[in-house]
């Protein structure tokens, strides 16, 4: 039993490592297939502006970026892999001398905060509303919940963001100005505050994060409501729910332990898988709010061909998604005994 578990865990881990390696390799070569090379551009710049020879300029660039430009793509690849294993992603091209890991460490928390909050809030409220819509099929508010959810799930997230910017930051309400000052809709926190556990900073962070979080909330809640409603409706008509009622169990008990518990099975997996997309799922929204998270950083890195930074951000995203998939798989095993045991019928 113990040995089985170890073999199982080792297999899973091998799969994770393999997946990450494949994706990393793909990213490395794809990025280098992109047209326009930033170092080439830098060298050209030196040649034109300072009248250096090409050799002089390229040796200068090489020392600045700690790169051997003569090396073949394959050597660069091996180099990249071996340093990536040591979590050394090199320095950024765009801001020379700054470690890529440093940049990611500075940006990642903001994305985790806003997208994570949006996901968790929409999940909790979504499943409650979804269960309610399924359980109270005959009520007047059921079409309201389902209709709004279908609508929200169909609207692209950037449209929701634009609408919220207009609603909170642009429209003036009876001459009293907008609800949130427009400058607060940009960036992660205001200019006058010092980061740390102080009230003005926290207030500023919440003020700036509020509308992005609301955007993530509205762009995802529809899906959760519809998923939970579908899943709950299926369980409501199940034989075990009917027998539970015939057994005289209290409605609250049936809803919680019999219907809710089973309806949550597919939803919990979906939630675990979406955790992985927290990091990557924010490009356009962060750009709209000029919110300095990882998504915006990736966008900048891509438009400026900052290879080391791009590679590192892609790698972080990949690892997050692969790990969340693994988590989803393990979670399903914990929640559903039928998967944990893998069959094994006794004879009747």
């Amino acid at each position: 039993m113990q040995k089985d578990m170890l073999v199982f865990a080792a297999k899973k881990l091998m799969k994770v490592v393999f997946t990450v390696w494949v994706v990393t390799t793909l990213i490395f070569f794809l990025i280098r297939l992109m047209p326009s090379n930033p170092i080439e551009r830098y060298i050209q710049n030196l040649v034109v502006q300072y009248g250096m020879t090409y050799e002089e300029a390229s040796s200068r660039a090489s020392s600045l970026f700690a790169l051997d430009l003569e090396a073949s793509l394959f050597v660069q690849y091996i180099d990249y892999l071996s340093s990536a294993v040591r979590l050394d992603f090199g320095t950024s091209f765009l801001s020379p001398g700054v470690q890529v890991t440093q940049i990611i460490a500075a940006r990642l928390p903001w994305t985790l905060f806003t997208v994570g909050m949006g996901l968790v809030l929409s999940f909790i409220i979504g499943i409650v509303l979804g269960a309610l819509a399924a359980y109270r099929r005959e009520s007047w508010y059921e079409p309201l919940i389902s209709g709004t959810s279908s609508f929200l799930s169909a609207v692209p997230d950037f449209l929701i963001a634009i609408f919220l910017i207009l609603l909170f930051g642009v429209f003036t309400w009876g001459g009293r100005g907008s609800i949130i000052p427009i400058f607060q809709l940009r960036g992660t926190y205001g200019p006058g505050v010092t980061p740390g556990w102080n009230a003005p900073f926290i207030r500023s962070v919440i003020g700036h994060g509020f509308v992005p979080i609301l955007t993530y909330f509205f762009s995802q809640i529809g899906i959760w409501v519809l998923l939970m409603k579908g899943s709950t409706s299926g369980c409501l008509n199940s034989d075990y729910a009917q027998i539970a009622r015939a057994r005289g169990l209290r409605p609250a008990k049936i809803l919680k332990s019999y219907i809710g518990r089973n309806a949550m099975l597919p939803i919990a997996t979906e939630f675990a898988m979406r955790l992985g997309f927290i990091i990557g799922g924010s490009l356009i929204i962060e750009q709209l709010f000029v919110y300095q998270g990882l998504g915006l950083e990736l966008l900048n890195a891509t438009s400026n061909r900052d290879y080391p930074l791009m590679q590192a951000i892609f790698l972080v995203m990949t690892i997050a998604i692969v790990l969340s998939n693994l988590f989803a798989e393990l979670l399903y095993g914990v929640l559903d005994p039928r998967i944990r045991h893998g069959g094994g019928k006794q004879d009747g």
Partner: protein, 332 residues
């Protein structure tokens, strides 16, 4: 047991389903009385209202069903009679499983798939405020499981998917005895099981009925089960009870033409396949009901009176009831 002693009395029950075409009269003037310790089989074609009638006894009808008129009265072992047709959901909840057990069709998935069997025994005990500790409930559950020839500990600690179909069925029977009910209703109890398991389950139920002193109503299409298990046979047609006879007399001498047809439709071992009998015509429209006897279009004995007047259920000798204008002409 005197014939006037009863635990459940259904009188002139009418149940409608609201459908797009209009009201579907699923149960139409059905009357039935269950005596203590008795086993009653309800037979009839699909859609004749058997399941609706059974579900109405525990008031677990679908949302679009209404009890239009009639009465369902239940007499508990202790205490006053209960008018089920006018009881609140709260009253019904306490009555369900502790007094009347309803086992719906497809009991292959009657257990919550994500919790172990013992949780589901405890849930049931707690819902009815059994004055026992968890340990005592589990001890009783083990005893009941052993009564149905299962390993109590092993089953209690299993998940439903770890049990075979027959084991699940027997576990459900053990669970149904937990609160010592007076009436157990089974809707097609054995359709999902193989023939050998079916037979074992039925023999088990019959012996438990005697040892635990409960009455049983079971709905079935399988007349083979009926001969083994039933004291009395109730035939339903188009929502109404058309015949109500003691089992042995029913098989020897069915009174209603529809009962005769049903018995003739049983395949005989020595008959060729081509000679398989079926009652001519098809089941009537329950939304737009015709005047007179609903069986008359399919009945070889039908005459003028059948087209005008609905026959009432009345005594046709002994403890037998039938709803037919010319029952005396009917023979096998």
């Amino acid at each position: 047991m005197s014939p006037d002693d009863w635990i459940l009395d259904i009188q002139n029950l009418f149940i409608d389903y609201r459908t797009k075409r209009g009201n579907l009269h699923a149960v139409h003037d059905a009357s039935l009385r269950i005596r203590p310790g008795e086993s009653v089989a309800v037979i009839g074609e699909s859609g004749c209202g058997k399941t609706t009638l059974a579900a109405s006894i525990v008031k677990m009808l679908p949302l679009n069903a209404d009890i239009r008129s009639g009465s369902i009265t239940y007499k508990p072992r202790k205490g006053k009679s209960v008018s089920i047709h006018s009881s609140s959901e709260q009253t019904m909840r306490t009555l369900r499983w502790s007094e009347i057990v309803m086992m719906f069709q497809a009991s292959q998935s009657s257990f919550n798939p994500v919790t172990k069997i013992y949780t589901q025994f405890l849930d049931t005990a707690r819902a009815h405020r059994m004055k026992l500790t968890s340990q005592q409930v589990l001890k009783r559950s083990r005893e009941l499981l052993e009564l149905v020839y299962l390993n109590g500990d092993a089953v209690l600690n299993s998940y439903p998917h770890e049990l075979s179909g027959g084991m699940k069925q027997r576990t459900l029977i053990a669970l149904s005895l937990l609160l010592d009910p007076q009436l157990i209703i089974l809707d097609e109890p054995t359709t999902a099981l193989d023939l050998i398991t079916q037979k074992r389950i039925l023999l088990l139920l019959n012996s438990l009925r005697k040892s635990h002193n409960f009455s049983m109503i079971f709905i079935t299409h399988d007349l083979g089960i009926v001969t083994q298990l039933a004291d009395r046979v109730v035939t339903m047609y188009a929502g109404a009870v058309v015949e109500d006879s003691p089992s042995s007399e029913f098989f020897a001498d069915p009174k209603h033409p529809y009962s005769v047809g049903l018995l003739r439709a049983i395949p005989k071992l020595n008959a060729a396949f081509e000679h398989l009998y079926s009652i001519p015509g098809s089941t009537p429209d329950l939304v737009r009901r015709i005047d007179g006897c609903l069986f008359s279009p399919r009945c070889e004995h039908s005459h003028d009176r059948c087209l005008r007047e609905v026959p009432q259920l009345r005594s046709v000798g002994g403890h037998r009831l039938a709803a037919c204008h010319l029952y005396e002409e009917v023979t096998v």
